[in-house]
Symmetry: C2
Subunit: 230 residues, 2 copies
Amino acid sequence: MTMSSSIDQRVSLAVSTVIFALRPHPDSGLMTLWLPLVRRIREPYEGQWALPGGPLEADEDLAASAQHTLERTTGLAPHYLEQLYAFGNVDRSPDDRVVSIVYWALVRPDEVARAVDGENVEWFVADELPPLAFDHTSIVDYALARLRAKITYTPIAHAFLPEEFTLAELRAVHEAVLRTTLDPANFRRQALASKTLVPTGTCLQGTSHRPPALFRFEAGAPSPAPEEQR
Amino acid sequence: MTMSSSIDQRVSLAVSTVIFALRPHPDSGLMTLWLPLVRRIREPYEGQWALPGGPLEADEDLAASAQHTLERTTGLAPHYLEQLYAFGNVDRSPDDRVVSIVYWALVRPDEVARAVDGENVEWFVADELPPLAFDHTSIVDYALARLRAKITYTPIAHAFLPEEFTLAELRAVHEAVLRTTLDPANFRRQALASKTLVPTGTCLQGTSHRPPALFRFEAGAPSPAPEEQR
DNA sequence: GGGGGTTAGTGTTGACGTGACTTTAAGGTC
DNA sequence: GACCTTAAAGTCACGTCAACACTAACCCCC
Protein backbone atom coordinates (compact mmCIF):
# COMPACT_ATOMS: atom_id res chain seq x y z
CA MET A 1 0.00 0.00 0.00
CA THR A 2 2.94 2.32 0.48
CA MET A 3 4.36 1.81 -2.98
CA SER A 4 2.11 3.42 -5.49
CA SER A 5 1.79 0.90 -8.26
CA SER A 6 0.63 3.61 -10.61
CA ILE A 7 3.74 5.70 -10.36
CA ASP A 8 6.19 2.91 -10.84
CA GLN A 9 4.34 1.10 -13.52
CA ARG A 10 2.49 3.87 -15.30
CA VAL A 11 -0.94 2.38 -15.03
CA SER A 12 -3.49 5.08 -15.65
CA LEU A 13 -7.00 4.83 -14.34
CA ALA A 14 -9.95 5.96 -16.43
CA VAL A 15 -13.67 6.07 -15.80
CA SER A 16 -16.03 5.56 -18.74
CA THR A 17 -19.75 5.17 -19.12
CA VAL A 18 -22.12 3.40 -21.46
CA ILE A 19 -25.22 5.59 -21.66
CA PHE A 20 -28.50 4.29 -22.97
CA ALA A 21 -31.53 6.25 -24.11
CA LEU A 22 -34.63 5.48 -26.13
CA ARG A 23 -35.74 7.22 -29.29
CA PRO A 24 -37.40 6.13 -32.52
CA HIS A 25 -35.38 4.25 -35.07
CA PRO A 26 -34.85 6.33 -38.25
CA ASP A 27 -35.94 3.51 -40.56
CA SER A 28 -38.70 1.63 -38.80
CA GLY A 29 -39.86 4.35 -36.43
CA LEU A 30 -39.86 1.82 -33.60
CA MET A 31 -38.53 2.76 -30.20
CA THR A 32 -34.89 1.71 -30.10
CA LEU A 33 -31.88 1.82 -27.81
CA TRP A 34 -29.38 4.54 -28.60
CA LEU A 35 -26.14 5.57 -27.02
CA PRO A 36 -23.89 8.61 -27.38
CA LEU A 37 -20.29 8.20 -28.46
CA VAL A 38 -17.39 10.63 -28.52
CA ARG A 39 -14.96 11.02 -31.38
CA ARG A 40 -11.36 10.65 -30.34
CA ILE A 41 -9.20 13.67 -31.11
CA ARG A 42 -5.86 12.07 -30.23
CA GLU A 43 -3.93 8.95 -30.98
CA PRO A 44 -4.45 6.11 -30.52
CA TYR A 45 -7.62 5.52 -32.51
CA GLU A 46 -7.78 9.18 -33.54
CA GLY A 47 -11.03 9.93 -35.34
CA GLN A 48 -12.72 6.76 -34.14
CA TRP A 49 -15.74 6.65 -31.89
CA ALA A 50 -15.33 5.75 -28.23
CA LEU A 51 -17.20 5.73 -24.96
CA PRO A 52 -17.28 9.01 -23.07
CA GLY A 53 -14.81 8.93 -20.22
CA GLY A 54 -11.73 10.43 -18.72
CA PRO A 55 -9.18 10.10 -15.96
CA LEU A 56 -10.43 9.50 -12.44
CA GLU A 57 -10.70 12.78 -10.59
CA ALA A 58 -8.62 12.74 -7.42
CA ASP A 59 -11.27 14.24 -5.18
CA GLU A 60 -14.26 12.29 -6.43
CA ASP A 61 -15.72 8.87 -5.80
CA LEU A 62 -15.85 6.55 -8.80
CA ALA A 63 -19.54 7.05 -9.55
CA ALA A 64 -19.27 10.81 -9.09
CA SER A 65 -16.33 10.90 -11.46
CA ALA A 66 -18.30 8.97 -14.04
CA GLN A 67 -21.21 11.35 -13.66
CA HIS A 68 -19.10 14.50 -13.98
CA THR A 69 -17.15 13.24 -16.94
CA LEU A 70 -20.45 12.41 -18.54
CA GLU A 71 -21.78 15.87 -17.86
CA ARG A 72 -18.65 17.51 -19.21
CA THR A 73 -18.35 15.54 -22.43
CA THR A 74 -21.98 14.96 -23.38
CA GLY A 75 -24.03 17.26 -21.14
CA LEU A 76 -26.12 14.33 -19.93
CA ALA A 77 -27.33 13.74 -16.38
CA PRO A 78 -28.35 10.10 -15.97
CA HIS A 79 -31.27 8.92 -13.84
CA TYR A 80 -29.65 5.57 -13.23
CA LEU A 81 -25.98 4.81 -12.83
CA GLU A 82 -24.36 1.53 -11.92
CA GLN A 83 -20.88 0.14 -12.12
CA LEU A 84 -20.50 -2.33 -14.95
CA TYR A 85 -17.02 -3.80 -14.75
CA ALA A 86 -13.37 -2.94 -14.47
CA PHE A 87 -11.52 -3.64 -17.70
CA GLY A 88 -7.78 -3.85 -17.33
CA ASN A 89 -6.22 -6.32 -19.72
CA VAL A 90 -2.63 -5.47 -20.54
CA ASP A 91 -3.22 -5.25 -24.27
CA ARG A 92 -6.43 -3.27 -24.34
CA SER A 93 -4.60 -0.05 -25.15
CA PRO A 94 -1.72 -0.09 -27.64
CA ASP A 95 0.50 2.35 -25.78
CA ASP A 96 -0.02 2.86 -22.07
CA ARG A 97 -1.56 0.51 -19.59
CA VAL A 98 -5.08 1.77 -18.95
CA VAL A 99 -7.53 0.34 -16.46
CA SER A 100 -11.06 1.54 -17.15
CA ILE A 101 -13.75 1.36 -14.53
CA VAL A 102 -16.86 1.39 -16.66
CA TYR A 103 -20.33 2.46 -15.57
CA TRP A 104 -23.60 2.14 -17.40
CA ALA A 105 -26.37 4.67 -17.24
CA LEU A 106 -29.93 5.32 -18.32
CA VAL A 107 -31.21 8.76 -19.26
CA ARG A 108 -34.70 10.15 -19.77
CA PRO A 109 -35.94 11.55 -23.06
CA ASP A 110 -35.98 15.14 -21.82
CA GLU A 111 -32.29 14.77 -21.00
CA VAL A 112 -31.57 13.57 -24.49
CA ALA A 113 -33.04 16.76 -25.88
CA ARG A 114 -30.84 18.87 -23.59
CA ALA A 115 -27.68 17.00 -24.58
CA VAL A 116 -24.98 18.60 -26.65
CA ASP A 117 -25.01 17.14 -30.11
CA GLY A 118 -21.85 18.76 -31.30
CA GLU A 119 -19.19 17.83 -33.78
CA ASN A 120 -17.59 15.20 -31.57
CA VAL A 121 -20.63 13.72 -29.86
CA GLU A 122 -23.12 11.65 -31.78
CA TRP A 123 -25.93 9.23 -31.02
CA PHE A 124 -25.93 5.72 -32.50
CA VAL A 125 -28.35 2.84 -32.51
CA ALA A 126 -26.99 0.47 -29.88
CA ASP A 127 -27.18 -2.60 -32.08
CA GLU A 128 -25.75 -0.91 -35.18
CA LEU A 129 -22.52 0.61 -33.97
CA PRO A 130 -19.51 1.49 -36.08
CA PRO A 131 -16.16 -0.04 -35.09
CA LEU A 132 -15.15 1.50 -31.79
CA ALA A 133 -11.79 2.42 -30.32
CA PHE A 134 -9.99 0.11 -27.89
CA ASP A 135 -12.15 -2.76 -26.58
CA HIS A 136 -15.19 -0.53 -26.38
CA THR A 137 -17.25 -2.69 -28.71
CA SER A 138 -17.12 -5.63 -26.33
CA ILE A 139 -17.76 -3.29 -23.42
CA VAL A 140 -20.94 -2.06 -25.06
CA ASP A 141 -21.98 -5.64 -25.78
CA TYR A 142 -21.51 -6.50 -22.15
CA ALA A 143 -23.47 -3.44 -21.02
CA LEU A 144 -26.26 -4.35 -23.40
CA ALA A 145 -26.42 -7.85 -22.02
CA ARG A 146 -26.50 -6.51 -18.47
CA LEU A 147 -29.26 -4.04 -19.28
CA ARG A 148 -31.38 -6.67 -20.98
CA ALA A 149 -30.87 -9.10 -18.14
CA LYS A 150 -31.51 -6.58 -15.41
CA ILE A 151 -34.66 -5.08 -16.87
CA THR A 152 -36.32 -8.49 -16.66
CA TYR A 153 -35.95 -8.85 -12.92
CA THR A 154 -35.54 -5.29 -11.66
CA PRO A 155 -37.74 -2.22 -12.09
CA ILE A 156 -35.28 0.01 -13.89
CA ALA A 157 -37.36 0.66 -16.99
CA HIS A 158 -38.86 3.72 -15.36
CA ALA A 159 -35.46 5.40 -15.65
CA PHE A 160 -36.20 5.79 -19.35
CA LEU A 161 -39.50 7.56 -18.64
CA PRO A 162 -40.72 10.79 -17.04
CA GLU A 163 -41.98 10.81 -13.46
CA GLU A 164 -45.48 9.74 -14.40
CA PHE A 165 -46.19 7.20 -17.07
CA THR A 166 -48.76 4.69 -18.27
CA LEU A 167 -48.35 0.95 -18.26
CA ALA A 168 -48.33 0.99 -22.05
CA GLU A 169 -45.35 3.33 -22.00
CA LEU A 170 -43.56 1.14 -19.51
CA ARG A 171 -44.27 -1.88 -21.65
CA ALA A 172 -42.97 -0.05 -24.72
CA VAL A 173 -39.67 0.44 -22.89
CA HIS A 174 -39.38 -3.26 -22.18
CA GLU A 175 -40.26 -4.10 -25.75
CA ALA A 176 -37.70 -1.69 -27.12
CA VAL A 177 -34.91 -2.90 -24.86
CA LEU A 178 -35.64 -6.58 -25.34
CA ARG A 179 -36.68 -6.24 -28.98
CA THR A 180 -39.80 -8.34 -28.53
CA THR A 181 -43.51 -7.84 -28.17
CA LEU A 182 -45.09 -8.46 -24.79
CA ASP A 183 -48.66 -9.38 -23.98
CA PRO A 184 -50.29 -6.25 -22.51
CA ALA A 185 -52.45 -8.16 -20.04
CA ASN A 186 -49.66 -10.33 -18.69
CA PHE A 187 -47.25 -7.42 -18.53
CA ARG A 188 -49.76 -5.50 -16.48
CA ARG A 189 -50.18 -8.34 -14.01
CA GLN A 190 -46.48 -8.79 -13.56
CA ALA A 191 -45.78 -5.07 -13.29
CA LEU A 192 -48.42 -4.50 -10.66
CA ALA A 193 -47.37 -7.58 -8.71
CA SER A 194 -43.90 -6.11 -8.14
CA LYS A 195 -45.39 -3.48 -5.82
CA THR A 196 -43.05 -0.79 -7.11
CA LEU A 197 -45.72 1.05 -9.10
CA VAL A 198 -47.99 3.50 -7.37
CA PRO A 199 -51.10 4.75 -9.16
CA THR A 200 -51.32 8.52 -9.13
CA GLY A 201 -55.10 8.35 -9.24
CA THR A 202 -55.19 10.42 -12.39
CA CYS A 203 -55.55 9.29 -15.96
CA LEU A 204 -53.85 10.45 -19.10
CA GLN A 205 -56.41 12.57 -21.00
CA GLY A 206 -56.68 13.46 -24.64
CA THR A 207 -56.39 10.00 -26.09
CA SER A 208 -58.79 8.81 -28.72
CA HIS A 209 -59.66 5.79 -26.64
CA ARG A 210 -60.11 4.74 -23.03
CA PRO A 211 -57.80 6.91 -20.88
CA PRO A 212 -55.02 4.91 -19.24
CA ALA A 213 -54.12 5.30 -15.57
CA LEU A 214 -50.90 7.08 -14.67
CA PHE A 215 -48.33 5.50 -12.40
CA ARG A 216 -45.31 6.64 -10.49
CA PHE A 217 -42.32 4.57 -9.47
CA GLU A 218 -41.93 4.07 -5.76
CA ALA A 219 -38.64 2.63 -4.53
CA GLY A 220 -39.16 -0.30 -2.23
CA ALA A 221 -36.43 -1.25 0.20
CA PRO A 222 -33.28 0.80 -0.42
CA SER A 223 -30.74 -1.33 -2.21
CA PRO A 224 -27.77 -2.57 -0.20
CA ALA A 225 -24.32 -1.32 -1.01
CA PRO A 226 -22.90 -1.33 -3.62
CA GLU A 227 -25.61 -3.00 -5.65
CA GLU A 228 -27.76 -6.01 -5.59
CA GLN A 229 -26.47 -7.82 -8.66
CA ARG A 230 -28.52 -10.95 -8.19
CA MET B 1 -5.97 9.31 -22.01
CA THR B 2 -2.66 11.07 -22.40
CA MET B 3 -2.61 12.55 -18.93
CA SER B 4 -2.00 9.79 -16.48
CA SER B 5 -4.44 10.42 -13.70
CA SER B 6 -2.45 8.22 -11.39
CA ILE B 7 0.78 10.16 -11.60
CA ASP B 8 -0.74 13.57 -11.14
CA GLN B 9 -3.19 12.64 -8.47
CA ARG B 10 -1.45 9.80 -6.70
CA VAL B 11 -4.19 7.27 -7.06
CA SER B 12 -2.80 3.82 -6.46
CA LEU B 13 -4.45 0.74 -7.85
CA ALA B 14 -4.69 -2.42 -5.79
CA VAL B 15 -6.12 -5.85 -6.49
CA SER B 16 -7.62 -7.81 -3.60
CA THR B 17 -9.54 -11.05 -3.31
CA VAL B 18 -12.19 -12.49 -1.04
CA ILE B 19 -11.47 -16.21 -0.86
CA PHE B 20 -14.05 -18.69 0.36
CA ALA B 21 -13.57 -22.25 1.49
CA LEU B 22 -15.60 -24.77 3.45
CA ARG B 23 -14.56 -26.52 6.64
CA PRO B 24 -16.36 -27.60 9.79
CA HIS B 25 -17.32 -25.00 12.34
CA PRO B 26 -15.29 -25.41 15.56
CA ASP B 27 -18.37 -25.25 17.79
CA SER B 28 -21.19 -26.95 15.94
CA GLY B 29 -19.13 -29.12 13.63
CA LEU B 30 -21.33 -28.06 10.74
CA MET B 31 -19.81 -27.22 7.38
CA THR B 32 -19.26 -23.48 7.33
CA LEU B 33 -17.85 -20.76 5.09
CA TRP B 34 -14.35 -19.64 5.99
CA LEU B 35 -12.03 -17.09 4.49
CA PRO B 36 -8.34 -16.31 4.95
CA LEU B 37 -7.25 -12.88 6.10
CA VAL B 38 -3.84 -11.25 6.25
CA ARG B 39 -2.54 -9.24 9.16
CA ARG B 40 -1.35 -5.80 8.17
CA ILE B 41 2.26 -5.09 9.04
CA ARG B 42 2.21 -1.39 8.18
CA GLU B 43 0.17 1.66 8.92
CA PRO B 44 -2.62 2.38 8.40
CA TYR B 45 -4.52 -0.28 10.34
CA GLU B 46 -1.29 -1.97 11.42
CA GLY B 47 -1.99 -5.26 13.18
CA GLN B 48 -5.56 -5.47 11.90
CA TRP B 49 -6.86 -8.14 9.57
CA ALA B 50 -7.42 -7.36 5.91
CA LEU B 51 -8.12 -9.02 2.60
CA PRO B 52 -5.10 -10.41 0.77
CA GLY B 53 -4.08 -8.11 -2.05
CA GLY B 54 -1.41 -5.91 -3.46
CA PRO B 55 -0.59 -3.43 -6.18
CA LEU B 56 -1.57 -4.27 -9.73
CA GLU B 57 1.34 -5.85 -11.56
CA ALA B 58 2.22 -3.91 -14.68
CA ASP B 59 2.54 -6.92 -16.95
CA GLU B 60 -0.50 -8.85 -15.78
CA ASP B 61 -4.20 -8.75 -16.49
CA LEU B 62 -6.42 -7.97 -13.54
CA ALA B 63 -7.51 -11.53 -12.85
CA ALA B 64 -3.97 -12.84 -13.22
CA SER B 65 -2.73 -10.22 -10.82
CA ALA B 66 -5.35 -11.24 -8.29
CA GLN B 67 -4.38 -14.87 -8.69
CA HIS B 68 -0.67 -14.25 -8.29
CA THR B 69 -1.08 -11.99 -5.31
CA LEU B 70 -3.21 -14.67 -3.78
CA GLU B 71 -0.60 -17.30 -4.41
CA ARG B 72 2.15 -15.14 -2.97
CA THR B 73 0.39 -14.09 0.20
CA THR B 74 -1.64 -17.17 1.08
CA GLY B 75 -0.35 -19.97 -1.14
CA LEU B 76 -3.85 -20.64 -2.44
CA ALA B 77 -4.79 -21.47 -6.02
CA PRO B 78 -8.51 -20.88 -6.52
CA HIS B 79 -10.73 -23.03 -8.71
CA TYR B 80 -13.10 -20.18 -9.37
CA LEU B 81 -12.27 -16.51 -9.71
CA GLU B 82 -14.57 -13.67 -10.65
CA GLN B 83 -14.40 -9.93 -10.42
CA LEU B 84 -16.56 -8.60 -7.62
CA TYR B 85 -16.47 -4.83 -7.78
CA ALA B 86 -14.16 -1.84 -7.97
CA PHE B 87 -14.10 0.09 -4.71
CA GLY B 88 -12.74 3.58 -4.98
CA ASN B 89 -14.39 5.99 -2.60
CA VAL B 90 -12.17 8.91 -1.71
CA ASP B 91 -12.28 8.24 2.02
CA ARG B 92 -11.81 4.49 2.04
CA SER B 93 -8.15 4.83 2.95
CA PRO B 94 -7.09 7.43 5.50
CA ASP B 95 -3.88 8.46 3.72
CA ASP B 96 -3.55 7.84 0.02
CA ARG B 97 -6.26 7.42 -2.55
CA VAL B 98 -6.54 3.70 -3.24
CA VAL B 99 -8.82 2.10 -5.80
CA SER B 100 -9.19 -1.62 -5.16
CA ILE B 101 -10.40 -3.96 -7.84
CA VAL B 102 -11.72 -6.83 -5.77
CA TYR B 103 -12.15 -10.41 -6.92
CA TRP B 104 -13.83 -13.28 -5.15
CA ALA B 105 -12.66 -16.86 -5.31
CA LEU B 106 -13.58 -20.37 -4.28
CA VAL B 107 -11.00 -22.97 -3.29
CA ARG B 108 -11.21 -26.71 -2.79
CA PRO B 109 -10.52 -28.45 0.51
CA ASP B 110 -7.24 -29.97 -0.64
CA GLU B 111 -6.02 -26.46 -1.44
CA VAL B 112 -6.92 -25.31 2.04
CA ALA B 113 -4.66 -28.00 3.47
CA ARG B 114 -1.77 -26.84 1.28
CA ALA B 115 -2.18 -23.21 2.25
CA VAL B 116 0.32 -21.43 4.41
CA ASP B 117 -1.12 -20.89 7.84
CA GLY B 118 1.66 -18.72 9.12
CA GLU B 119 1.82 -15.93 11.61
CA ASN B 120 0.16 -13.37 9.38
CA VAL B 121 -2.41 -15.49 7.59
CA GLU B 122 -5.36 -16.92 9.42
CA TRP B 123 -8.73 -18.45 8.56
CA PHE B 124 -11.96 -17.03 9.96
CA VAL B 125 -15.59 -18.03 9.86
CA ALA B 126 -17.11 -15.79 7.22
CA ASP B 127 -20.04 -14.70 9.34
CA GLU B 128 -18.00 -14.13 12.51
CA LEU B 129 -15.24 -11.82 11.38
CA PRO B 130 -13.25 -9.46 13.59
CA PRO B 131 -13.22 -5.78 12.64
CA LEU B 132 -11.30 -5.46 9.40
CA ALA B 133 -9.03 -2.78 8.01
CA PHE B 134 -10.33 -0.15 5.57
CA ASP B 135 -13.78 -0.92 4.16
CA HIS B 136 -13.02 -4.60 3.94
CA THR B 137 -15.92 -5.61 6.18
CA SER B 138 -18.47 -4.26 3.75
CA ILE B 139 -16.53 -5.77 0.86
CA VAL B 140 -16.77 -9.20 2.47
CA ASP B 141 -20.47 -8.67 3.09
CA TYR B 142 -20.95 -7.85 -0.55
CA ALA B 143 -18.96 -10.88 -1.66
CA LEU B 144 -21.01 -13.08 0.65
CA ALA B 145 -24.23 -11.75 -0.81
CA ARG B 146 -22.93 -12.34 -4.33
CA LEU B 147 -21.84 -15.89 -3.53
CA ARG B 148 -25.16 -16.73 -1.94
CA ALA B 149 -27.08 -15.26 -4.82
CA LYS B 150 -24.97 -16.86 -7.51
CA ILE B 151 -24.94 -20.34 -6.05
CA THR B 152 -28.71 -20.46 -6.39
CA TYR B 153 -28.78 -19.96 -10.15
CA THR B 154 -25.32 -21.04 -11.30
CA PRO B 155 -23.45 -24.32 -10.83
CA ILE B 156 -20.45 -23.02 -8.91
CA ALA B 157 -20.83 -25.19 -5.83
CA HIS B 158 -18.60 -27.83 -7.42
CA ALA B 159 -15.68 -25.42 -7.04
CA PHE B 160 -15.76 -26.29 -3.33
CA LEU B 161 -15.49 -30.02 -4.04
CA PRO B 162 -13.00 -32.46 -5.56
CA GLU B 163 -13.38 -33.60 -9.16
CA GLU B 164 -15.85 -36.33 -8.31
CA PHE B 165 -18.56 -35.92 -5.70
CA THR B 166 -21.93 -37.23 -4.64
CA LEU B 167 -25.16 -35.31 -4.76
CA ALA B 168 -25.25 -35.33 -0.97
CA GLU B 169 -21.88 -33.58 -0.90
CA LEU B 170 -23.05 -31.03 -3.43
CA ARG B 171 -26.17 -30.44 -1.39
CA ALA B 172 -24.07 -30.04 1.75
CA VAL B 173 -22.18 -27.24 -0.01
CA HIS B 174 -25.40 -25.43 -0.82
CA GLU B 175 -26.66 -25.90 2.71
CA ALA B 176 -23.43 -24.59 4.20
CA VAL B 177 -23.31 -21.54 1.97
CA LEU B 178 -26.97 -20.66 2.33
CA ARG B 179 -27.23 -21.78 5.95
CA THR B 180 -30.41 -23.71 5.37
CA THR B 181 -31.52 -27.29 4.95
CA LEU B 182 -32.61 -28.42 1.52
CA ASP B 183 -34.92 -31.25 0.57
CA PRO B 184 -32.71 -34.03 -0.82
CA ALA B 185 -35.27 -35.20 -3.37
CA ASN B 186 -35.98 -31.74 -4.77
CA PHE B 187 -32.32 -30.80 -4.77
CA ARG B 188 -31.52 -33.92 -6.77
CA ARG B 189 -34.14 -33.15 -9.37
CA GLN B 190 -33.04 -29.58 -9.77
CA ALA B 191 -29.35 -30.48 -9.90
CA LEU B 192 -29.86 -33.13 -12.55
CA ALA B 193 -32.13 -30.89 -14.60
CA SER B 194 -29.35 -28.34 -15.03
CA LYS B 195 -27.49 -30.77 -17.30
CA THR B 196 -24.12 -29.76 -15.87
CA LEU B 197 -23.64 -32.96 -13.86
CA VAL B 198 -22.28 -36.03 -15.56
CA PRO B 199 -22.52 -39.37 -13.77
CA THR B 200 -19.19 -41.15 -13.68
CA GLY B 201 -20.90 -44.51 -13.63
CA THR B 202 -19.15 -45.46 -10.43
CA CYS B 203 -20.47 -45.32 -6.90
CA LEU B 204 -18.84 -44.24 -3.69
CA GLN B 205 -18.02 -47.42 -1.77
CA GLY B 206 -17.46 -48.02 1.89
CA THR B 207 -20.54 -46.31 3.24
CA SER B 208 -22.70 -47.96 5.84
CA HIS B 209 -25.74 -47.59 3.64
CA ARG B 210 -26.74 -47.55 -0.01
CA PRO B 211 -23.75 -46.37 -2.07
CA PRO B 212 -24.36 -42.99 -3.75
CA ALA B 213 -23.50 -42.35 -7.40
CA LEU B 214 -20.51 -40.17 -8.18
CA PHE B 215 -20.79 -37.17 -10.47
CA ARG B 216 -18.45 -34.88 -12.30
CA PHE B 217 -19.05 -31.31 -13.34
CA GLU B 218 -19.19 -30.74 -17.06
CA ALA B 219 -19.11 -27.15 -18.25
CA GLY B 220 -21.90 -26.37 -20.66
CA ALA B 221 -21.57 -23.45 -23.03
CA PRO B 222 -18.47 -21.39 -22.24
CA SER B 223 -19.52 -18.20 -20.50
CA PRO B 224 -19.39 -14.99 -22.51
CA ALA B 225 -16.91 -12.29 -21.60
CA PRO B 226 -16.40 -11.05 -19.00
CA GLU B 227 -19.06 -12.86 -17.03
CA GLU B 228 -22.67 -13.61 -17.23
CA GLN B 229 -23.92 -11.76 -14.18
CA ARG B 230 -27.61 -12.37 -14.77
C1' DG C 1 -29.24 -65.02 7.36
C1' DG C 2 -33.04 -62.13 8.46
C1' DG C 3 -34.54 -57.70 10.82
C1' DG C 4 -33.50 -52.90 11.60
C1' DG C 5 -31.14 -48.61 10.56
C1' DT C 6 -29.56 -45.31 7.16
C1' DT C 7 -29.16 -43.01 3.10
C1' DA C 8 -30.06 -43.15 -2.19
C1' DG C 9 -33.28 -42.51 -5.45
C1' DT C 10 -38.32 -42.32 -7.46
C1' DG C 11 -43.20 -40.92 -7.40
C1' DT C 12 -47.21 -38.13 -6.24
C1' DT C 13 -49.77 -34.20 -5.05
C1' DG C 14 -51.08 -29.40 -4.57
C1' DA C 15 -49.97 -24.49 -4.76
C1' DC C 16 -48.30 -20.99 -7.61
C1' DG C 17 -46.64 -18.33 -11.60
C1' DT C 18 -46.99 -17.58 -16.32
C1' DG C 19 -48.35 -17.59 -21.41
C1' DA C 20 -52.25 -17.48 -24.49
C1' DC C 21 -56.54 -15.94 -24.97
C1' DT C 22 -61.34 -13.93 -24.05
C1' DT C 23 -64.33 -10.51 -22.28
C1' DT C 24 -65.83 -6.11 -20.59
C1' DA C 25 -64.96 -0.97 -19.97
C1' DA C 26 -64.25 3.74 -21.49
C1' DG C 27 -63.15 6.92 -24.31
C1' DG C 28 -63.17 9.30 -29.36
C1' DT C 29 -64.84 9.55 -34.29
C1' DC C 30 -67.99 9.53 -37.97
C1' DG D 1 -75.94 5.33 -32.13
C1' DA D 2 -72.61 2.13 -34.79
C1' DC D 3 -67.77 1.51 -34.80
C1' DC D 4 -62.89 1.72 -33.78
C1' DT D 5 -59.18 1.63 -30.38
C1' DT D 6 -56.96 0.81 -26.27
C1' DA D 7 -57.47 -0.14 -21.05
C1' DA D 8 -58.32 -3.38 -17.74
C1' DA D 9 -60.08 -7.64 -15.82
C1' DG D 10 -60.98 -12.52 -16.20
C1' DT D 11 -60.28 -17.50 -17.73
C1' DC D 12 -57.73 -21.65 -18.65
C1' DA D 13 -54.02 -24.85 -19.54
C1' DC D 14 -49.43 -25.90 -18.68
C1' DG D 15 -44.89 -26.13 -16.34
C1' DT D 16 -42.28 -25.49 -12.11
C1' DC D 17 -41.45 -26.45 -7.57
C1' DA D 18 -42.02 -27.37 -2.47
C1' DA D 19 -43.68 -30.93 0.49
C1' DC D 20 -44.15 -35.48 1.43
C1' DA D 21 -44.71 -40.59 0.73
C1' DC D 22 -42.54 -44.59 -0.98
C1' DT D 23 -39.13 -48.03 -2.76
C1' DA D 24 -34.08 -49.52 -3.28
C1' DA D 25 -29.56 -50.78 -1.72
C1' DC D 26 -26.19 -51.11 1.25
C1' DC D 27 -24.16 -52.22 6.39
C1' DC D 28 -24.61 -53.83 11.08
C1' DC D 29 -26.04 -56.82 14.53
C1' DC D 30 -27.99 -60.53 16.78
